[in-house]
């Protein structure tokens, strides 16, 4: 401070003025980091921790001064500066509702006021302390109309994201992801673990995530916009002339959110015996005598005894003495995490920079699962001369995951194995060797845990450089070159003891190079003060090429070397490359009359090498209009005091979905099997020159209202989107040697309503309590398929016309007959049957049931701050999804497989009069007399559970140390925080995790604590 005071007289001597003051909020609290800028001089300062700023060397004159800071309304005033010190204290008004926020709408930014399509935005402040690995998990519950489910709880695992419902049947419904203007490739990911390419970006580097939801907004991305567009923007430096350095450390803990309830060894043995008794011990014909019930019991016990003894228990062991292994204790292993980031940002009028370096090491809650990331973000903006600016944004990341077999009913996936292994098996024999388990020693999960290694390393470069030329203050040209480069290296290693092939190594390298360029001319000009015109004109070109190389070797000299070179027989090698190219020309024109009437029109002409030679290029137009009723004089005259804004929006557009295989349109003689060392070629596909993108048409109407003097805002959107020209495989008679041919037919409709509410509940006496809530209700229906076709297949998810995409076609469960313990279903007439007809025809007993899609999703967040304290609590919810209960229904409640049993088996029918939902235990699929004994083979609605839930997704408490303390230790700020993720779930679902399929790697409960220091 002394130094600064000393400088002031010197500046005064130079006959120029000084503008200084303090910036506070409405409660009088100082706001650090506010940019105060003299517009005419493009000169400014950022406030210090006391909210003070000082701009020196100002030539005498009249200037416009602006102050801006995220979360506050932009401040603007005019000051007269002479030769002395002019004091300008500024009070910033809260802009909790963010009307002055800029929104990125694709190649262009507009203010929130100007938005006329359906765009959701999530900003850095909304997910500041949420301990997640990727941008996708941030969006969950925070953006209305975006449905996100976790694919794997493995740290760094993937998500399934759909925007306004899935509209495709065979192609992907994943949105287009754009990071700082670069379209990100999701091709060729790891085969050893679940992951997402967005792991390359540290969520701490993200400034905002915008989701273009309706087709009118997404049509600027043409043939790639049909599934919505997620635009991720990283942070940038500021022109304050000051450097902000932030260091942050975080530590965390994670564990499983729930477990299966399992039967112990004695229960397991008893039900195995009972089942064999009930079924007449079908296989024990040598000992069984149906006329002698006691003999049946003895025979059944002998069979089960053989099984028990085969797993390493002493011969003749009493059933009561067989120990119980809780295999879940064995697979779950609480994880710890640490995360460090160091950020420097700042700059002046010519150069701005944002640098972020981070390290994260997060252990999963199942053995051997972990995620580590080293990342660097470097964003640099440099003015070259008065017309020319350049910018470079680079994300470098090296991530590594050790994974586990993720999901599915595979006997070596830990979650599956923990349910499959019966309690009578043991990880180790008494002598410490690996024991024989249900699927043999080599699938003993202890052996998987201790000896098998699955590792994955990714190197990613995601960046762009651009050159911007400003012709005039209303016309600029920007040329951007983007690179998205990713190498995914996998290794799976089984030492000799864990392999019957004398040890084996699998290695894979998958390299994807995705480069793109776009060149955009932008204009923005106001005529006669009321006619605001802006627009863009541009082109984009993208090429993506992947090289995939995998190798498999066997025969290792020892367990120490784990590379292909160490194998004696590097015997399976495969490699291929694949490529696609796309190009597009696009334009957008916006016109706004006096802030009242806003119209915007978009068009894109797109082509892709993926499509048939006759249909390679297509045109995607879109248009929106908005009317800000609240700006009309008649409205103002109504004097609805509390209403600040009413905006009506309507939009219509078309987009395309080109997420199909790179060469799906061409007829091919493709690589098939090999014989006698020669690789075969076969007619692998019939070509279709007319094959092209799937097309989405969407109409969106919306209403934005702000009332209660800005204390409450609501955004409502309703949409109807038809995805037409769906790529379906038209089935051909299989005797032709082909299953079908790809054709553009079929259509799916999605429609829904979204509501977003933001409110300021309390804003007084230093207490600020805000709430944001969103809800989306969505449904879909298949409108048409191949001509004359009513369903795509005859299975349990038939994709039938008139039904939702995932609707299930199954019989209805009627429960267990209390008289005899047999399972019952309703037939087509609503009568009880033991043998429902499950094939097409007049006697079909199946009907449609709700499928796996979410019907209602959303979130509720509350933020309360007082003095330095901020408390955030965020709930996320999902209703209407149903899940097939693999473990709970199919494997865990029947003794048929001699696999582990859930404690649900206690509900199995035992004697006449028992009212229950599980049949009597039985080995075999039909009871004597021919009725179905095993409800598993007749998958009815009882095989599925409603996975609706409300989850306390995130809770964070943070505390900013008062400046009085931080000043003493020469720091600009210190913040302490603690947060939790997936803390509690309200659900009737009995599986491990309602977010996932039954046997997947479940999400974890996480608790984190951290400290952030500003220098």
């Amino acid at each position: 401070m002394l130094l600064l005071v000393g400088l002031v007289p010197a500046a005064a001597l130079a006959q120029s003025g000084v503008l200084s003051g303090t910036v506070t909020d409405e409660t009088g609290e100082a706001i650090p980091g506010v940019n105060v800028v003299i517009t005419q001089l493009t000169k400014g300062d950022a406030t210090d921790v006391e909210g003070k700023y000082s701009i020196t060397n100002i030539p005498a004159g009249t200037y416009t001064v602006t102050a801006s800071f995220t979360g506050y309304k932009k401040y603007e005033t005019t000051v007269q500066v002479g030769s002395g010190i002019v004091t300008l204290d500024i009070t910033m008004e809260d802009d909790i509702l963010g009307l002055d926020d800029v929104v990125i709408v694709g190649y262009q930014t507009v203010s929130k006021r100007e938005v006329s399509g359906a765009v959701s935005k999530v900003s850095a402040k909304d997910f500041k302390d949420v301990p997640v690995q990727s941008a996708q998990s941030i969006l969950q519950g925070r953006a209305a109309g975006v449905q996100i489910t976790t694919q794997s709880g493995n740290p760094g695992g993937a998500f399934t994201v759909t925007v306004r419902g899935a509209g495709s049947i065979n192609s992907s419904s994943a949105p287009l992801y754009i990071v700082d203007g670069v379209q990100v490739s999701f091709a060729n990911q790891s085969s050893q673990t679940s992951q997402t390419p967005l792991n390359a970006i540290d969520p701490n580097s993200i400034e905002s995530i915008e989701v273009l939801k309706d087709a009118a907004s997404a049509s600027i991305y043409g043939a790639n916009g049909a599934n919505g567009v997620v635009i991720i923007t990283t942070k940038k430096g500021s022109n304050t002339g000051r450097t902000n350095i932030t260091a942050r450390s975080e530590f965390g803990y994670r564990e499983e959110i729930s477990r299966f309830g399992v039967a112990n060894s004695q229960e397991w043995i008893e039900y195995q015996i009972q089942a064999r008794e009930n079924s007449g011990n079908v296989f024990d014909f040598l000992q069984d005598n149906p006329a002698n019930p006691a003999g049946r019991r003895t025979a059944a016990e002998t069979t089960v005894r053989n099984t028990v003894e085969s797993f390493g228990h002493a011969a003749g062991i009493a059933f009561a003495d067989v120990p119980t292994t809780n295999w879940q204790d064995f697979i779950y292993d609480a994880g710890f995490s640490q995360r460090y980031t160091l950020t420097a940002s700042g700059g002046d009028n010519d150069t701005q920079y944002f640098l972020n370096g981070g390290y994260e090491d997060t252990e999963g809650h199942i053995f051997n699962s972990a995620f580590t990331r080293y990342n660097i973000t470097a964003n640099l903006d440099q003015r070259l001369n008065s017309k020319l600016r350049t910018s470079v944004q680079i994300n470098l990341a090296n991530t590594a995951q050790t994974g586990e077999c993720q999901d599915g009913s595979f006997i070596n996936c830990p979650v599956t194995a923990s349910g499959f292994e019966p309690p009578i098996t043991m990880p180790f024999n008494a002598d410490g060797t690996f024991a024989n388990t249900r699927f043999g020693t080599r699938n003993n999960i202890a052996l998987q845990k201790e000896l098998v290694r699955r590792t994955n390393r990714n190197t990613q470069i995601l960046g762009n450089s651009s050159l911007t030329y400003e012709f005039t203050n209303w016309l600029t040209f920007k040329s951007t070159f983007g690179v998205d480069y990713r190498v995914v290296s996998d290794n799976q290693f089984r030492p000799p003891i864990a392999s019957t092939l004398g040890g084996q190594v699998f290695e894979a390298d998958r390299e994807t190079t995705n480069w793109s360029t776009n060149n955009v001319l932008s204009a923005r000009k106001t005529f006669s003060e009321k006619h605001n015109v802006s627009g863009i004109l541009g082109m984009e070109y993208r090429r993506e090429r992947s090289n995939v190389f995998t190798s498999f070797g066997t025969g290792l000299p020892n367990g120490l070397l784990s590379v292909i070179n160490a194998t004696s027989t590097p015997n399976a090698v495969s490699g291929f490359n694949t490529e696609f190219r796309q190009a597009g020309y696009f334009a957008r024109a916006n016109y706004d009359y006096d802030g009242k009437y806003i119209v915007s029109a978009t068009a894109r002409y797109d082509g892709s090498s993926r499509f048939g030679s006759e249909e390679r290029w297509g045109f995607f137009p879109g248009a929106t209009a908005a009317w800000r009723l609240s700006e009309e004089d008649f409205f103002k005259n109504l004097n609805w005091g509390g209403v600040e804004e009413i905006k009506l929006r309507v939009g219509y557009g078309t987009t395309g979905n080109s997420l199909i295989a790179n060469f799906a349109s061409r007829s091919a003689l493709g690589v098939g099997g090999s014989y006698n060392g020669l690789t075969g070629l076969t007619l692998s596909r019939l070509g279709n020159d007319l094959l092209t993108w799937e097309e989405a048409e969407e109409i969106n109407v919306g209403l934005d209202v702000i009332f209660l003097k800005g204390r409450l805002s609501a955004n409502i959107d309703a949409y109807q989107r038809d995805n037409n020209e769906l790529l379906l495989n038209r089935p051909l008679p299989r005797d032709s040697g082909f299953g079908g041919i790809n054709q553009n037919v079929g259509s799916v409709r999605n429609e829904g309503i979204e509501l977003q509410l933001n409110s300021v509940n309390v804003d007084r006496a230093g207490i600020l309590w805000t709430t944001n809530f969103n809800i989306s209700v969505q449904r879909n229906e298949i409108l048409s398929l191949n001509e004359g076709q009513t369903s795509l297949n005859g299975g349990s998810v038939p994709f039938a016309v008139g039904q939702a995409r995932t609707a299930r076609f199954i019989p209805e469960w009627a429960g267990i007959n209390p008289a005899n313990g047999l399972p019952m279903w309703y037939d087509r007439n609503g009568d009880i049957t033991y043998n429902p007809v499950l094939t097409a025809g007049a006697n079909d007993d199946r009907r449609f049931f709700d499928g796996s899609e979410e019907d209602v999703v959303g979130g509720l967040g509350n933020t309360i701050s007082y003095k330095g304290f901020t408390f955030d609590v965020f709930f996320q919810y999902s209703f209407g999804r149903t899940i097939f209960m693999t473990q709970e229904f199919f494997f865990g409640t029947t003794p048929i497989f001699t696999t582990g049993l859930l404690d649900d088996i206690e509900r199995a029918w035992q004697q006449p009069g028992d009212v229950t939902d599980l049949p009597r235990v039985f080995i075999g699929s039909t009871e004597p007399g021919g009725s179905t004994a095993d409800p598993r083979v007749t998958r009815a609605d009882n095989a599925y559970q409603d996975a609706s839930y409300i989850r306390l997704k995130n809770m964070t408490l943070s505390y900013n140390l008062p400046t009085s303390i931080t000043e003493k230790i020469n720091l600009r700020g210190v913040r302490l925080y603690a947060s939790g993720l997936n803390l509690y779930t309200w659900t009737a679902f009995t599986g491990l995790d309602p977010e996932q399929s039954s046997q997947s790697f479940p999400t974890a409960l996480q608790v984190n604590g951290g400290i952030e220091i500003n220098f």
Partner: protein, 480 residues
Amino acid sequence: MNKLRNIALLLVAVLSIQACTEILEDVEPSTEITPEVGLADPGAIAAVRANMYSRLHAFAFTTELMLAPEAFADNITSRDGSSRFRGQAFNNVRSGMNDGAYGVAYLLINDANLLAEGIPDGVITDALRNQYRGEALVLRAFAHFVLVRGFGYEPGQEVSGFNLGVIVRTEPVVGLSDADTRARSTNAEVYTQMNADLNAAIALLDNSSSRNFVTQSFAQGLLARINLYEGNHAGANAAATAALAGTSAALATTAQVATMFDETAFAINPEALFETLLANPAAEGQGVNSSLNAYTASQWVAQIPTPGLLALYDPADARNAWYSACDDNGTGPDTDNPAQAIAGCTAINGGLELNKWNGELGQFADNIPLMRVSELLLIQAEARLSGGIADPLTPINTLRAQRGVAALGAVTLADILNERRMEFVGEGQRGFDLKRLGMTMTKDPGLTAPDVPYTDFRILNDFASGDLDTNEDLIQNPGY
């Protein structure tokens, strides 16, 4: 003016790219070529042939072909705790005898048709083209045979006069218009086509190829088998005799019986007229979920010999060496491994598994003979006995001599069928032996599942609903 010039330059730069629609061209797949390019290249033609053979690696031409018909009958059964081919053991509707072949058989047929009919003149020598054509005709007949015996009755054995066979394809499908919808041919028409294909092939082929490829003798052997199925006993006897005369395969001696299926003892089974080579032995062969080895001797040990079958063997029978303790011995020659004992075998058959498919080539990897010399001998015996042709006894006694069991003094059909059970266990013959003779599908008397009368609809495979939906001309089998 400068401003205008800049704008003009810019527009030129942006729009000039617009003209170049070629920017989307020159993108070619790395694992495919166009059919026109491929069939004009000798290497690619050889690759089409390799692909045709590789179709025989399919589950439906290996494990299902070899086990499902046996499981539906009385040779092998499902072990307690295993679900693989369990439906066949319990006569479940739609379990089928090799019904999985429906799709893959036509893939093989299309490859064969492309090789037989689609090769342009002058790309390869006439001799090579004839050889490839002969091989293709034999495999086309083989695929049609696998289909027609599963989906239709044998000619003369129709139930209620139902005589439909399967759809016959003799031209390659290269374009959309070739993929027309067709009706099922009658069983007699399918047999006529197979006879014609095999006779044409016999004229085109010789026995110079390795027995890992189709030879003239295999074509004759397959003709013998097909003739036996259609009740043409004279033809069967003649074709079997011709096959035996020409082949370099020979009946295994008593000492060889135990190891004839062991690839470490014999590069090719000494009795095999045609043995398919596994694609990539060291990489787990057909894999843990599909291989014959994993179904019978390792991992799942899902299908084990029935006590009724085991009781047929004389203690001196050399074929007793094909059985060993029921355990998961992993790869290589069987070594009894009590630590990996499989639960549930003891109760059924005293604790034995079948070791014909033992994974000697690598984990879960075996080469599979599709026809052996012993079958030719038993075809001769049966054709002569049933056709009233002289000397049915010599062929069966020739076989028995090398199996270490006493010669028969007289032979009955029951003797021949029992010999076939003992000889071809795990080779997919038993269920179809009963069916082709119009006999009841017997179950092992010790097991609870009832016998299936020949007139029961489950004797024929059913067509999948998807196939019926796609092709209105396809008539479902009765009862489904």
